[in-house]
Amino acid sequence: MTMRRTNKRSLVQTCICLTVLLAIGLWLSLFTGVAAIPLQTVLKQWSLAEPSKELLIFQTIRLPRAVLGALIGANLAVAGALMQAITRNPFASPQVFGVNAGASLVVVLAILFLPSIGSANLIYFAFAGAILGGFTVLGFASSRGMTNLKIALVGMAVHLLLTSITKGLIIYNEHISDVMFWLSGSISGATWADVRMILPWSVLGLALAAGLAGSLSVFRLGEEVAMGLGQKIVVVRLLACAAIVILGGASVAVAGAVGFIGLMIPHIARKLVGTDYRAVIFASAWGGAVLVTYSDVVARLISFPFESPVGIVTALLGTPFFLYLARKKGRELV
């Protein structure tokens, strides 16, 4: 990869483009769906004491869904960017490194064996699961002689294992189709409660990521260089891991495993804005929000009027990207 320093102009251009895209996406997300809700209705009735059915749908279903989608996209993309920075592995992402699958597994366990647990507490189980999945893979990754490709292979295998355990567990669950829907990654049932639950964690994780961004740019040059330039490697790495767990776990707890966002977006972001991680993280957050917002609109339309999990759309987009990476990197590393 060529070390391209961030060009101010390309950063500004990218930001403008992404903001416009996000705005259009949110607009589509808000006004696409089974119920047709004209803008005039929304504007006219916004401050009325007794809102109509349309406005109610708009306020309690469409709006939280759009907000949640954007938040989750930003979370997962930034988590992916952080993972790629600290492992210097192009395949690193919450999906490929077992974070999503681990979080899903522990959340399903909690739902099954602690049925009285409030949904607000599930987020802590998701954190624990994210740590479980991520560290299993990272444990392998840290042994010597592992190529990036092999680590990706290990990650996919761990993902497979955790997912198959999860599948085995949900067979016993009576609300099987609900859990299935959640597992495939979905934000169709988003409520303001979900947004409230995830928001503080998102803010915390994103802030942490932004704070680490400067150090991460140095990280990409290699461990020795980073150490030589006065980076506290262990501290930076631990903080980054904490941010990854928070961002990935919180997203899974609310929306299930929406895959491949964290894999795709950081690559695209680096292409757009260069390798300065302050810019990459910023662009990743915007890009992830854009991608999930559009994917969610598509998920609503592919079997209209029925909902499909957004995770399926992102998987269908992400896997070709993954294959492309495997091919490119496979050739590079042979």
Partner: protein
């Protein structure tokens, strides 16, 4: 039972033959003992009594549930294992197996689509569509591998990726038609639950053709698992026999998936264990792997049925629990060799 894996003198090969028969006996005993396990315990003595014609309240359970399941486990285990042997030999890749390279996922996708869209389709057409799904994935992989000069791990990685696409599509189908999803989900996780004589009749004709065909091709497999130049030098039409073998492996995997769902990692584990025990000669490796595959599936099914009756753990989850750590181990070992 430590068997040298180098040259095959006649003494060694007779010892291997004895080991083969011993394993076969173990498998049959395991299947027999496994039949007594379940939500209703049937003592082994009682099973014998039922077979010899004594009618009892349990004879229905034994004849219609336990016996067909045991037979099916043996058949499908052998099928997956042979498919794995062929793929590993053909691609010259120890990580290859129908599940790792996504072939079973492709078969699963097509089969789920058929089950949901044509619920009254006869179980006999299911293998055909599963085969088509498996074939589609296999062809996609080959095309990909050819362009990128695939290394073992690249190939496996791409296979896992393709498998993920099929998985996503399968999940989409399942989520879209939740009413029937419960059945397909059990099926997808790979389980012998509720399988009976119908599935055996669906699977048996395929195996009767494909397994002998695989045995007949054992010499070609020996040659093709050498490197490219040697196999051409030994007078083999490499690309032709490679496509033939691929079709064979894919058809086997497809038929087994159609019968019992995508039970993972047998196609990876069984050939590897058989290689350790019987060496690399396909004449003895093929039957060895088949027996080991049957044994693994029989045990997995019995455990899944017996751990927490009446709830069943799908056998596919148990095989994944053993198989994934082994897969990870293989990835590590491969690293040290290169």
């Amino acid at each position: 039972m430590k068997v040298d894996t180098t040259a095959a003198s006649s003494k060694r090969s007779s010892r291997k033959a004895i080991a083969l028969f011993a394993l076969a006996a173990v498998t049959i005993v395991a299947a027999f003992l496994g039949m007594s396990v379940g939500s209703v315990y049937v003592a082994p003595g009682q099973i014998v009594a039922i077979w010899t014609g004594e009618s009892s309240s349990l004879s229905f359970i034994v004849e219609n549930y336990r016996l067909p399941r045991a037979i099916l486990a043996i058949l499908a285990g052998a099928g997956f294992a042979i498919s794995g042997v062929i793929l590993q030999g053909m691609i010259r890749n120890p990580l290859a197996s129908p599940d790792v390279i996504g072939v079973t996922k492709g078969a699963g996708l097509f089969a789920v689509a058929i089950i949901l869209f044509f619920p009254h389709a006869s179980p006999l057409v299911l293998p055909l569509f599963a085969f088509l799904g498996a074939l589609a994935v296999a062809l996609a992989l080959i095309a990909f591998a050819r362009k990128s000069g695939a290394q073992p791990s690249t190939f496996a990685l791409v296979g896992l990726g393709v498998g993920a696409v099929c998985q996503a599509l399968t999940e989409f189908v399942l989520v879209k038609y939740p009413m029937q999803a419960n059945d397909s989900l059990v099926w997808l996780a790979g389980s012998l639950w509720g399988k009976g004589w119908d599935e055996i009749y669906g699977l048996l004709p395929w195996l009767c053709v494909l397994i002998p065909a695989a045995f007949a091709l054992h010499r070609q497999l020996d040659i093709i698992s050498l490197d490219e130049h040697s196999s051409t030098g030994l007078g083999l039409r490499v690309s032709q026999s490679r496509y033939g073998l691929l079709l064979l492996a894919v058809a086997l995997a497809g038929a087994c998936v159609a019968a019992i769902g995508s039970i993972g990692f047998i196609g990876l584990l069984a050939p590897q264990i058989a290689r350790k025990l019987f060496g690399n000669q396909h004449r003895i490796l093929l039957p060895g792997a088949a027996i080991i595959g049957a044994l693994i599936l029989v045990i997995a099914d019995a455990i899944g049925r017996g751990v927490n009756p009446p709830v069943e753990i799908p056998a596919g989850i148990l095989t994944a629990l053993i198989g994934v750590p082994y897969f990870l181990y293989l990835v590590r070992v491969e690293k040290k060799r290169t």
